[in-house]
C-alpha cells in the first residue's frame, strides 16, 4: 500500500435543516486497501457516500482524491477521475442488454461518446476486457439478455461489473451483499477478495462476517460521526463500538 491515501475526507459536515446528518467525518482509503464502513441504519452512511461521489454538496469539510481537492467537482467529473460507485439498488438501463452496459462503461471511460457515425461495439465484437469482466462476475452467459430478465443477484453482479469496466481506481460499494443467497454471497465475497490488489475499496455492509473477513480497516459510523476506526481485531474488541453497535451482533457470530 502506498503512503498516501487515494481518498481522504476531512471533517465533512452535512446538515439537513437543524439535523447534522454528517458530523465532522474524517475517513481515508488507501489503494490496495478494503476499508469497510459499518453502522446502524440511519447512521448516515448513504449521505456520506453521496457526499463523496458528489450527489450531495458538503456544508463544510474537504474531500481529496489522489491529493486533489474535489469539493467543487461534479458527479461526472469525479467519476472520470477514477471514483466508481455501485449503488445499493442497482442502477441499470432497462432497455439495454447486459453487454450494452459494459460497452457504455467503456465509452464513458475512453471518452469516445461523440463518435456519432461508426457502429458501436456489440455482443459479437465485445472487447476482451469486457468479456473478462463479465466472466469475473459470472455473467458471461447472460451477455445478450435484456436487464429485465436478470435476477436480483445478477443485477448486483452487473452493477459491480460496470464499476470494473470503468477503469476506476476507487470503488465505492454500497451493500453489495444485500439480498443475496448464501451461494451468491460466497461468490461475491470471493470476487471482492480478488479485487483488493487492483483498487482502493470503500465498502458499506451489514454482513459482519463478510466485513471481518474482507476488511483491512473498519470505520464505525453512528449518528453521523465516526466513533472508531481500526483493524478488524481492534474494532471487534472496542467496548464503545460494542455498546453502540456491535454488541449482541458479535455474540451471535
Amino acid at each position: 500500500m502506498s503512503a498516501l491515501p487515494i481518498l481522504e475526507s476531512i471533517d465533512l459536515v452535512k446538515n439537513f435543516g437543524a439535523l447534522s446528518v454528517t458530523d465532522k467525518v474524517s475517513l481515508s482509503v488507501f489503494f490496495g486497501e478494503l476499508h469497510a464502513l459499518i453502522g446502524p441504519n440511519g447512521a448516515g452512511k448513504s449521505t456520506l457516500i453521496n457526499l463523496i461521489t458528489g450527489e450531495l454538496e458538503v456544508n463544510s469539510g474537504s474531500i481529496y482524491f489522489e491529493q486533489k481537492l474535489i469539493n467543487s467537482f461534479s458527479v461526472a467529473s469525479r467519476s472520470r477521475l477514477g471514483i466508481s460507485r455501485a449503488y445499493q439498488v442497482p442502477q441499470l438501463f432497462p432497455s439495454m442488454t447486459v453487454a450494452d452496459h459494459l460497452i457504455m462503461a467503456e465509452i464513458a471511460a475512453s471518452g469516445s461518446g461523440f463518435k456519432m457515425w461508426a457502429k458501436r461495439a456489440n455482443l459479437n465484437n465485445l472487447g476482451h476486457v469486457q468479456q473478462n469482466i463479465l466472466d469475473q462476475v459470472g455473467l458471461i452467459h447472460m451477455a445478450s439478455k435484456p436487464t429485465a430478465l436478470l435476477a436480483h443477484g445478477q443485477k448486483r453482479q452487473l452493477e459491480l461489473a460496470i464499476c470494473l469496466a470503468s477503469g476506476a481506481k476507487l470503488l465505492i460499494l454500497d451493500e453489495p451483499l444485500a439480498g443475496l443467497g448464501p451461494a451468491e454471497s460466497a461468490q461475491m465475497i470471493k470476487l471482492l477478495h480478488s479485487l483488493k490488489c487492483s483498487y482502493g475499496i470503500l465498502l458499506v455492509e451489514h454482513d459482519m462476517e463478510a466485513v471481518f473477513s474482507l476488511a483491512d480497516r473498519i470505520s464505525v459510523l453512528v449518528n453521523g460521526s465516526i466513533i472508531a476506526t481500526g483493524s478488524p481485531e481492534l474494532i471487534k474488541s472496542d467496548p464503545i463500538v460494542k455498546s453502540a453497535y456491535l454488541g449482541d451482533e458479535l455474540e451471535s457470530h
Binding site: 465509452i107 464513458a108 463518435k115
Partner: protein, 320 residues
C-alpha cells in the same frame, strides 16, 4: 418462456416495422408514376409530415422528452423557402443549407435552455419558445403577417426541374426522408446513440459513469431541429404558400400525434404514423367537413386504448 416472448416481440416488431416501411417506400415511388396530381401530392404530404415526425421522435422517443414546440422548426423551413424565393434565391443547393443552418442555430439556442428542464416544464418551455417564433412570423408585415404570402417561386434543382412539379417534389422528399432516416439510424447505433438511450433510461447512472447527458442531448436536439426544417421546405413548396399557421401549437400537437400513432422510439414508426394521419385526414375530410372532430376522437381513443401505437395493432400472442 417469458424470454422467448420478449425476444420474439422485439424481433417481430422490428420486422413488421421494416415491412411496413418497405411497403410505404415502394408506394411512394410508384404512385407518382401514375401521373395523378392529387395522389402524388398526397404522397408528398405524407413524406413532408414523416420527415417532421421522425425528427420529433428523436426527442420524444430517444431523448425521452415531449416537445410541444417542433412546429417552430418546421416553420423555419417553410419561411426559409419563402423568404429566399422572395429575394430571388430558389436553388435547392442554397435553400436547404439555409434552412438547416437557421434551424440549427435557433434549435441549439432553444435546446440549450429547454434541456435544462424535463417533464412538464420541458413541455411548457418548448411551447413558449415556439409561440415566440410564431409571433415573430406573425409580426413580419412585409411577409404577409398573420395571413402569410404565396410562395413567389418554387425551390428548384435546375431550371425546368423544380418542386412545383408534383413528381419532382415527391421524389425530392423521398430522398430527404431516406437521408434523415439513415442519419438517424447511424446516430442511434453509434456510441453517441447508446449514451442518448442510457440517459433516457437512467440519467443519474450516466452521470455516475462519468458522462453528462446534456451535451449529447443538445447535439441531438439541434440535429432534430434541422431535420424538421427540411420538412418545412417541402411543405412550403407543396402548398405554394408560407404562413405562420405552420408554426402553431396545433401543428406541434399534430406532429406529436403522428409520433404516438406510429410508436415513439422506433424511427420508422412515425413514418407509419404520418401516413395514417394524412390518410385519416383525407378520409374524414372527404366524408365530412368536421374531420378535425373525428381525428380528435381517434387521438383520444388511441391514448386510452392502444398501448404501443399502430405496430401494437399487429402484435398478438402474449407479448405487449
Amino acid at each position: 418462456m417469458m424470454l422467448h416472448n420478449i425476444m420474439n416481440s422485439a424481433a417481430n416488431k422490428s420486422n413488421r416495422l421494416t415491412i411496413a416501411f418497405g411497403i410505404i417506400f415502394i408506394l411512394a415511388i410508384l404512385i407518382p408514376l401514375l401521373d395523378q396530381v392529387y395522389y402524388t401530392k398526397l404522397v408528398s404530404r405524407i413524406l413532408v409530415f414523416a420527415i417532421a415526425a421522425v425528427s420529433l421522435d428523436l426527442i420524444v422517443g430517444f431523448v425521452g422528452r415531449v416537445s410541444l414546440g417542433h412546429a417552430a422548426f418546421f416553420g423555419i423551413g417553410v419561411y426559409s423557402a419563402g423568404v429566399s424565393a422572395h429575394f430571388g434565391v430558389t436553388q435547392i443547393w442554397v435553400v436547404i443549407p439555409t434552412a438547416i443552418l437557421v434551424s440549427a442555430v435557433i434549435g441549439c439556442f432553444i435546446g440549450s435552455i429547454s434541456l435544462r428542464t424535463s417533464g412538464l416544464y420541458f413541455i411548457f418551455i418548448t411551447l413558449a419558445f415556439s409561440q415566440m417564433i410564431f409571433f415573430i412570423a406573425q409580426g413580419l408585415r412585409m411577409f404577409g403577417g398573420d395571413d402569410g404570402f404565396t410562395l413567389p417561386a418554387a425551390t428548384k434543382w435546375i431550371d425546368g426541374f423544380d418542386l412545383s412539379q408534383p413528381k419532382i417534389l415527391a421524389y425530392t422528399m423521398i430522398v430527404i426522408l431516406v437521408f434523415i432516416v439513415y442519419i438517424a439510424h447511424r446516430l442511434m447505433n453509434s456510441n453517441f446513440g447508446l449514451i442518448i438511450l442510457a440517459s433516457r433510461d437512467n440519467s443519474r447512472k450516466v452521470n455516475s459513469m462519468g458522462l453528462r447527458p446534456y451535451p449529447y442531448q443538445l447535439t441531438l436536439f439541434t440535429i432534430s431541429a434541422s431535420m424538421c426544417a427540411l420538412g418545412g421546405v417541402g411543405f412550403a413548396n407543396l402548398n405554394e404558400y408560407v404562413s405562420p399557421a405552420s408554426i402553431s401549437w396545433i401543428q406541434s400537437g399534430e406532429f406529436l400525434f403522428m409520433v404516438i400513432l406510429g410508436s415513439a422510439g422506433t424511427l420508422l414508426g412515425p413514418i407509419l404514423g404520418a401516413a395514417a394521419f394524412v390518410c385519416l385526414e383525407q378520409i374524414f375530410s372527404a366524408w365530412t367537413e368536421y374531420w378535425m372532430f373525428y381525428l380528435g376522437i381517434i387521438l383520444i381513443l388511441r391514448v386510452l386504448f392502444l398501448k404501443t401505437g399502430l405496430l401494437g395493432l399487429f402484435q398478438n400472442r402474449g407479448s405487449h
